[in-house]
């Protein structure tokens, strides 16, 4: 009996079905299970002959599966490699199931922290800077993101898919265990942290709006004479900024981190708190005597 292999055409077909339709039917019961099954269907079709074998094959791939799907395409590659071996009488169906379950955790973690939480904000920041820089044509930044992100992700995702297929479960695990991945992750974490630091400084704004003024005579440039006016005697934001610039936005960011990471608040609840804080701080700004807006 000739050894069965998955053709390049089927590999591409399987990858495309995953890349475009992995999120179509997400739900609580099997998460991305149906989409995974769809992506495996052409492979099963090619590898097995009888209806019964095909049914068994399909059934083991519509079970619970979840990952960050762009980086997680490596799981599809691994599963295809294992199916190919199984069709040739090596390995067991249970081993494929176990491998898929084992891959859920690490691939989700790498995908979410590396790709979604680091690469996307980084790329968006670059495109935002371009948009802000080109005042006459800010849309160039948007267009650039529309081209670079999908194309780059498509190539990365396809390469990971092929890597999973070629290297197999052991190869990928060996790579994950070798420490190589840890080093890359560590270096990118450093990159991400520095950029997030700069983003926090440049984009988060928060003022306490306390500015106590006193009525006095001020020199009016236009009329070259002294008129009634006010000067600030105590501006809390300026005082704090002279101690450590932008300490209030930094404090707000750390407060949000604490609520999210330590107290397990949901993003929506944190948003509510921020809305409340914004309302209170704005109200302070309008209080006669101490507010910054009056």
């Amino acid at each position: 009996m000739a050894t069965k292999t998955v053709s390049e055409k089927t590999l591409k077909n399987s990858f495309k079905q995953w890349f475009f339709w992995n999120g179509c039917s997400q739900q609580a019961e099997t998460m991305l299970g149906m989409a995974f099954g769809q992506s495996m269907a052409p492979v099963i079709d090619e590898l097995y002959d009888t209806k019964e074998e095909k049914a068994e094959g399909l059934k083991r791939h519509i079970t619970l599966f979840n990952t960050e799907s762009q980086v997680g395409s490596v799981c599809n590659g691994i599963a295809i490699g294992m199916e190919e071996q199984l069709a040739n009488g090596v390995g067991t169906a249970e081993a494929i199931q176990d491998a898929k379950v084992a891959l859920i955790g690490p691939t989700s973690a790498i995908g979410d922290s590396l790709w979604v939480a680091t690469i996307i904000p980084l790329l968006l920041t670059i495109c935002l800077s371009i948009a802000q820089g080109l005042t006459t044509a800010p849309w160039v930044g948007a267009l650039l993101y529309m081209l670079v992100y999908p194309l780059g992700t498509y190539l990365l995702s396809w390469r990971l898919f092929k890597l999973g297929y070629k290297a197999g479960l052991e190869g990928v695990q060996r790579f994950m265990m070798s420490g190589q991945l840890d080093k890359i992750m560590n270096a990118i974490t450093v990159l991400g942290l520095i950029v997030v630091g700069a983003l926090t400084a440049n984009f988060v704004t928060c003022s306490l709006n306390i500015d106590i003024k006193t009525a006095t005579q001020v020199f009016d440039e236009a009329s070259k004479s002294y008129v009634d006016g006010t000067i600030s005697v105590f501006n809390l934001d300026n005082l704090l900024n002279s101690v450590f610039p932008k300490i209030v936005p930094l404090g707000l960011t750390l407060f949000v981190y604490n609520l999210y990471a330590k107290k397990n608040w949901s993003p929506l609840a944190i948003m509510g708190i921020i809305l409340l804080l914004a309302a209170v701080l704005t109200a302070i700004g309008f209080i006669p005597g101490i507010g910054a807006f009056v």
Binding site: S25, M34, Q38, P121, Y149, G197
Partner: protein, 258 residues
């Protein structure tokens, strides 16, 4: 807004949502980002420059929209398509850019909540398609395996996204036709304060993913003070960060050899 514009924006609202027919890479992670969404709305409404005026602050506020394990509380796609559309539709009734941005954030608030709710409805209804998928798998018909996922998932997804978007956008259109709404100054001040504080939410969540040991706080603060004390732009800090990461990686490699 014309009827065609309402339909087109609602269509993109669906395409930019999680699990639309174009896939999450092109949809949620690209069309759904405020920078891109505002550009698309600008093209549809024929006013790209105003759209970008509100799109940039929206993008800053929602820079780090991470959805671990599919937990969507806040639908970014909905928030930004509706927010930008609202700002453009009611542009004539407000004075300056600050008020326009305030309008966009108010629209984004409504859109985000509607979208988040509809996502949860979608997520719950999709469970029923599993039976169909089981039946197909049971029959061993590989050629039909795509049907539950795409036909089933998309029928539900499209209805959950497109229809509510048309309703919300029509309401905005009606408000625009009725000569808009007057927005008091304190509201504009408050909502733009909220918008710029919202950026802290994204940063806080990214930090939760990145910080693994105490020394990471020092690295984060290094980036922070480069921007504050040295007044560097984010791009400049990003370039330095890339260099530092490469050097750091090289040091890690060397340690291995020694």
């Amino acid at each position: 807004m014309s009827t065609l514009q309402v339909i087109l924006i609602a269509l993109f609202c669906y395409l930019g949502a999680i699990g639309s027919i174009v896939g999450n890479t092109i949809g949620w992670y690209c069309l759904g980002r405020p920078l891109v969404a505002s550009f698309v709305v600008g093209l549809i409404m024929g006013d790209v420059s105003t759209a970008m005026v509100v799109g940039i602050p929206l993008q800053i506020a929602y820079l780090a929209n991470v959805t671990p394990g599919g937990a969507v509380a806040w639908d970014l796609s909905y928030a930004t398509y509706i927010g930008t559309a609202m700002a453009l539709a009611l542009k004539g009734t407000v004075g300056d850019n600050a008020a326009l941005i305030g309008l966009a954030f108010a629209g984004a608030g409504v859109g985000g909540v509607v979208g988040g709710t509809m996502w949860n409805v979608h997520y719950a209804l999709d469970v029923f398609i599993n039976r169909w998928a089981n039946k197909v798998a049971e029959s061993g018909d590989c050629k039909k395996m795509w049907m539950p996922n795409i036909i089933g998932g998309q029928c539900i997804g499209f209805l959950c996204r497109f229809v509510p978007a048309v309703i919300v956008l029509s309401a905005i259109r009606a408000a625009g036709a009725a000569n808009g709404i007057s927005i008091p100054g304190w509201f504009t001040t408050g909502i733009s304060a909220f918008g710029s504080m919202m950026a802290a939410l994204g940063m806080g969540i990214i930090l939760a993913f990145l910080v693994k040991k105490p020394v990471h706080w020092a690295i984060f603060l290094a980036g922070f003070v480069l921007a504050t004390y040295f007044g560097m732009s984010t791009m400049a800090v990003a370039v330095i960060a890339v260099l530092v990461a490469v050097i750091y990686y090289a040091i890690l490699e060397k340690k291995e050899v020694a």
